[in-house]
Symmetry: C2
Subunit: 366 residues, 2 copies
């Protein structure tokens, strides 16, 4: 028995993604650009699958789509393009992002800074949402892009995307939404100008990501080679996510409640963060008084409960909470998926209780 509650680091590829991909690995493995049977197969293969991805984000037929090799690739391609179009050609060298963003965007901004651009990071408020007032004040005529995630992966807090889109529209600034953690948990749409997401956080493959753009905004021209097997898998994952949206909103949300109630009952000094904010239905962020997060994560790993405290790809949870003005007393993020079972939840509650009580006893209790 184990409980995998780290689905925002990686989510198990769903069987329909693997099944959908299979024929393009075994039989129809030609190059997309070949003007003969093995290429034509690839073009046929795309038919319906790209449309499913358009449906997934409710894109219009005239909107643009680039199939990326990961969520990070989607973001990098967008930033590379905007650097050329907005920064070099129009002198718009300022990039605005929330302090809640993940490594791919932050690395991309770091690279832009090496190229002479300026990245401005907008703080978050105590409710885990980006500070709209600060964001609006940061925008100036040299702003190339505002980038904010649809939802933060470790806190689960949903960001005020519609309001930010309104601000950006009013100020004539491009707006990118990274929907990596919202994809498959909430219905999506291209609320801003650009939308990206990663396949491996929505039960697709690591080799997949997507960049969508409204028809009205600059869009990179990015060659003609397409990794059809990975795209097929992403398309299947998207369709499966839509079919499972009710499951996610009802059953996964119910399990999350069971988890939070169980922990609060079972574990002394436990507190759910951002419980009053609008959150994804599958994320639970706890602090445990008198416990070091790293020690707890390690103890949980030994007990086969897999969770995260961020770092590396994610933001460090510690820094994330500081950014929101929260005290970080043993904060650990638990992230369910539609495959999470009640058995896993009950197992996790028991094991977390054991681990926290043991660590609290070492540190002299509360």
């Amino acid at each position: 028995m184990h409980a995998y509650l780290d689905n925002h680091s990686a989510a198990k590829p769903c069987s329909s993604a693997l099944e959908r991909m299979k024929p393009y690995l075994e039989d129809e493995w030609g190059a997309f650009f070949s003007p003969h049977q093995k290429g034509i197969e690839q073009a046929h293969a795309l038919s319906g699958k790209v449309e499913a991805l358009y449906d997934f984000v409710r894109a219009k037929p005239e909107d643009r789509f680039y199939f990326a090799s990961s969520g990070a690739d989607a973001i990098q391609k967008l930033l590379d393009h905007l650097y050329l179009e907005a920064s070099r050609k129009e002198g718009k060298t300022r990039y605005i992002a929330s302090s809640l963003e993940d490594a791919p965007l932050l690395h991309g901004l770091k690279r832009l800074e090496e190229l002479g651009c300026h990245a401005q990071i907008i703080p978050a408020r105590e409710d885990g949402r980006v500070d709209l007032k600060e964001l609006e004040e940061a925008i100036d005529p040299r702003t190339a892009l505002v980038s904010v995630s649809f939802a933060q992966g470790l806190t689960g807090v949903i960001q005020p995307i519609e309001e930010i889109a309104g601000i950006c529209r009013k100020r004539g600034v491009l707006f990118h939404v990274d929907a990596t953690y919202a994809a498959g948990k909430l219905p999506l749409e291209i609320a801003g100008d650009y939308l990206t997401f990663a396949g491996d956080r929505m039960h697709g493959l690591k080799s997949s990501g997507a960049l969508f753009a409204k028809s009205s905004v600059p869009f990179p021209s990015l060659g003609s080679s397409v990794d059809v097997p990975s795209l097929a898998a992403l398309s299947a994952a998207a369709q499966q996510a839509v079919l499972s949206m009710d499951l996610m909103g009802l059953e996964t949300a119910r399990l999350r409640s069971r988890f939070e109630e169980g922990i609060l009952e079972e574990v002394p000094g436990a507190k759910v963060l951002f419980a009053d904010s609008l959150r994804l239905p599958n994320v639970s962020l706890f602090t445990f008084a008198g416990v070091h997060a790293e020690a707890l994560l390690y103890a949980l790993h030994r007990k086969k409960v897999y969770a995260t405290i961020g770092g590396v790809y994610h933001q460090h949870l510690h820094r994330l909470l500081l950014a929101c003005g929260e005290e970080d007393a043993g904060a650990v993020s638990f992230c369910l998926s539609r495959y999470t079972t009640e058995g896993e939840i009950d197992f996790a509650i028991a094991k977390i209780g054991e681990a926290v009580r043991f660590l609290q006893s070492l540190s002299g209790g509360l």
Copy 2:
């Protein structure tokens, strides 16, 4: 029955690549960076597989490796990095490439030109090799990189890599070798400073590529997320390629000879190009007098013989031949793999004969 002779556009993923990948799609699908069981599995998964890739290019342990999402990605990451390190910081804004290079490098150079760099394209000689004298003359103190493919994919001509490496060493200029078409056909090594190749042209997956660098040269730091399934497949494809190197050098080369002799015997006005140059054992480039290449390609497609005249991802064969000072009279490239059978070859000879004779009869013969 059909004959797939377009293996330099895409090569069938080998069964050992698919088998090697499978457990990482179905069971060990965690994130590489997670500090718990599902992440540790990923680190274990890499053990041995990265070493196999080092062995494949005879890299030293201190040499550097980046797992790319494609051959194009490997090249782009290298150019992006050199732009920052050599062009921005040291003012080295000149990039030299042969006129034989493929779309990924040419697109990359185009982007560098948009960033204010200068790309100089070195012509090829009549023997299909890059002109070393012109190359050496092009190098100046502002040269950031020389980039030449190990072998050209459509002509099969092997380039004088060792000599170019010597020139670059002498002149203190970085040298990148794209080994995409040589990988799996010839033993590789990092002859210059950087080596790249693509998985899908060596019976791996489209979602894989590699960038190697000597330990002494600048190398990008490129994040921590690794697509383990695709890397596992590439590793298996590399090992399989090494095991099949004799097969490639003997049996595939024999089939290529049978193909060329058969065509020359069967088809009036047929000529093998670059037959006297050092070539890959699996590529055959023909011209057919009195025939339009496009018409022939289409006729062959109807007869289920799949070949290429370049374009899109590859160079256009037409332009490639002009670059070598060759007249393009119905040039078509045929590219075998270790899976090509004698039956396919004989089928192809017969069908090519039919198609060429028919098209020649339409155009009034020779």
